[in-house]
Amino acid sequence: MEKALKPKKKRNALRDTVGDKIFYTINAIFLGLVALIVLYPLYFIVIASISNTDAVLGGKVILYPVDINFDGYARILEHTEIWRGYLNTLIYTGLTVVLALLVTIPAGWALSRKTLPGKKLFMIFFIIPMFFGGGLIPFYNVMNSLGLINSMWAIILPSILSVWNLFMCKTFFESSIPGGLIEAAKIDGAGQWRTFGSVVIPLSKAVIAVMALYYAVGQWNSYFSAMIFLQDEEKYPLQLVLKEILIASESTVGGSGETMLEQFRLANQLKYVSVIASSLPVLCLYPFVQKYFAQGVMIGSLKE
């Protein structure tokens, strides 16, 4: 057996044909270009955020930072709305994740059991919303009649269950929890709750992590429900604050006074900095949890 592994090295050392060499080269160049297209915008935001605003506005910052300074970062520290938005988003995201896990994981487990009474009905119940919805207006009216307008629960509660995630959980439980373990627990005398708590949950860390991340990223990045449901600015999540900062209405071009210009310069730098400040947590976290995300996509794909 061990001997069989050895030729692997040798195979790598096999000389490629000319055609293969050309293929590999073209392939590498292509992917390199794609990487450049992905990375440059991100890189530019970073160098622009630490460059002199005038240089940025003058089109001098393209490949490297000019006049490195951290004024923008200093200024964002004083920008109370951003930090309030940050805090709000943290709260909303935290609550969403906790509630979502409490709702999604047990439901996914129950749905994965053949012995769930009325399983077929439940399946249909959950599948229909995947393909058909009432639409924005009826949704808004429901939230209105539930008295959730201008409440943070309006953006939390509807996001604590994604039917896609639910089915992903179900598939995970079906494919990754060996039936024998559940039977062993049954013979050992564990009831359904005990089995779920002592056997299933400890074995489901991967799917719990994936779910937590999916729900967290979703809530962290969403702005729309906050925009239509929240009225008080103190409740605005980060994305909504960012929207005010970043997405200036293009049609209203301001006057040209001295202070206006200065304000415009400051605002411009703040944009770059706030993009970084808001995206950094997710982007930093992501490489570490990447394998879980990929796993999640795969679990989902098994659904069919």
């Binding site: 292509f30 009474p117 919805g133 639409g135 604590i160």
Partner: protein
């Protein structure tokens, strides 16, 4: 044998067949599952089914504050729908929505497949992994930040404007041009999501049996030929499933990103069915019944497209969603 059973005490239950008591016992044993699923049912009921019920207003003369079903309800049948069909915005909306979806599909569907195949064909698996990490990163940028970045590059004070100014040229923000909306929208969406969409194919490719490649090498296949004859067939089932899903979503473009990108300058191309629903129903003087009707119309189109796609796929291959 019979003697042995004869010595037993009289059994309590003589015929423990499919009795009601057995069913009750089964139910008791499995009742916890119902409790586990209950919260999810409540959430879906509240936020998915109540709105589906609420869509009835599309067939009513409905004012905000009205009850959906009461004796005062004024049913108007399909009036709201006919009104939409006669709306001068109808054809532009359909066209905008359809075009953004179809162009998005033409670019966005094959791109992840291409990326997955090329990544998989890289010689160094390590480089492949790093590239995959890089390609996936933009997926985690929020829409607000993405559109903000677009403005920083292509807006009136963005990078392109600055460069143009630097060289003394004139520049008009791409956000104010009708012609620029679609490319901007589609390319930025692809920039953000091609890596993420590729994951599913990459994972499928990693499951290809290396012996298949080895057999192909022995048969004299070049690396490129192996991509075509080994890798591509391996992800074909996945491709069909994704194809069905994309066709189902062909008219389903959301309002989130379009709303952020909309300006007075690009409204001719950026007004989509979904953004129109939002504006009609929730801004200005809301006309909820009308907006709900438009939304329902759009949902129905999507369901129909999905069914057509699925049936077609079922007919021509064994791949289907149901």
């Amino acid at each position: 044998m019979d003697a042995a059973t004869g010595t037993l005490k009289a059994p309590v239950l003589k015929k423990p067949g499919n009795s009601a008591s057995r069913r009750l016992r089964n139910f008791k044993e499995n009742a916890p599952f119902l409790l586990m699923i209950l919260p999810a049912v409540v959430v879906v009921f509240l936020f998915c089914y109540l709105p589906i019920y609420g869509v009835l207003i599309a067939f009513q003369d409905f004012m905000p504050g009205d009850e959906i079903l009461s004796e005062n309800t004024i049913w108007v049948g399909f009036d709201n729908f006919t009104r939409f069909f006669n709306d001068p915005q109808f054809w532009p909306l359909m066209k905008n929505t359809f075009l953004i979806c179809i162009f998005g599909f033409i670019i966005g569907f094959p791109l992840p497949i291409l990326i997955a195949l090329t990544l998989n064909a890289l010689k160094s698996k390590k480089v492949g992994k790093s590239l995959q990490t890089i390609f996936t990163a933009p997926h985690f940028i929020s829409l607000v930040v993405l559109v903000g970045m677009l403005q920083l590059f292509f807006g009136s004070d963005g990078l392109l404007a600055s460069i143009a100014a630097h060289f003394g040229g004139s520049y008009k923000s791409l956000f104010l041009k009708d012609s620029a909306f679609r490319p901007l929208y589609i390319l930025s969406s692809n920039w953000q999501d091609f890596g993420w969409s590729a994951i599913i194919y990459i994972a499928a490719l990693s499951n290809v049996d290396p012996q298949q490649h080895e057999a192909a090498i022995l048969d004299g296949a070049s690396r490129f030929q192996r991509v075509i004859h080994v890798d591509l067939p391996a992800i074909m089932p996945m491709i069909s499933v994704m194809l069905i899903m994309s066709i189902g979503g062909l008219m389903g473009v959301g309002y989130e990103k379009a709303l952020l990108m909309q300006t007075d300058g690009n409204l001719h191309t950026s007004e989509l069915v979904s953004t129109y629903v939002y504006k009609q129903g929730l801004t200005g003087i809301p006309d909820q019944a009308y907006a709900a009707a438009i939304g329902l119309f759009n949902s129905v189109i999507n369901v129909v497209l999905l069914i057509i796609a699925n049936t077609t796929s079922k007919k021509f291959s064994e791949n289907s969603l149901w």
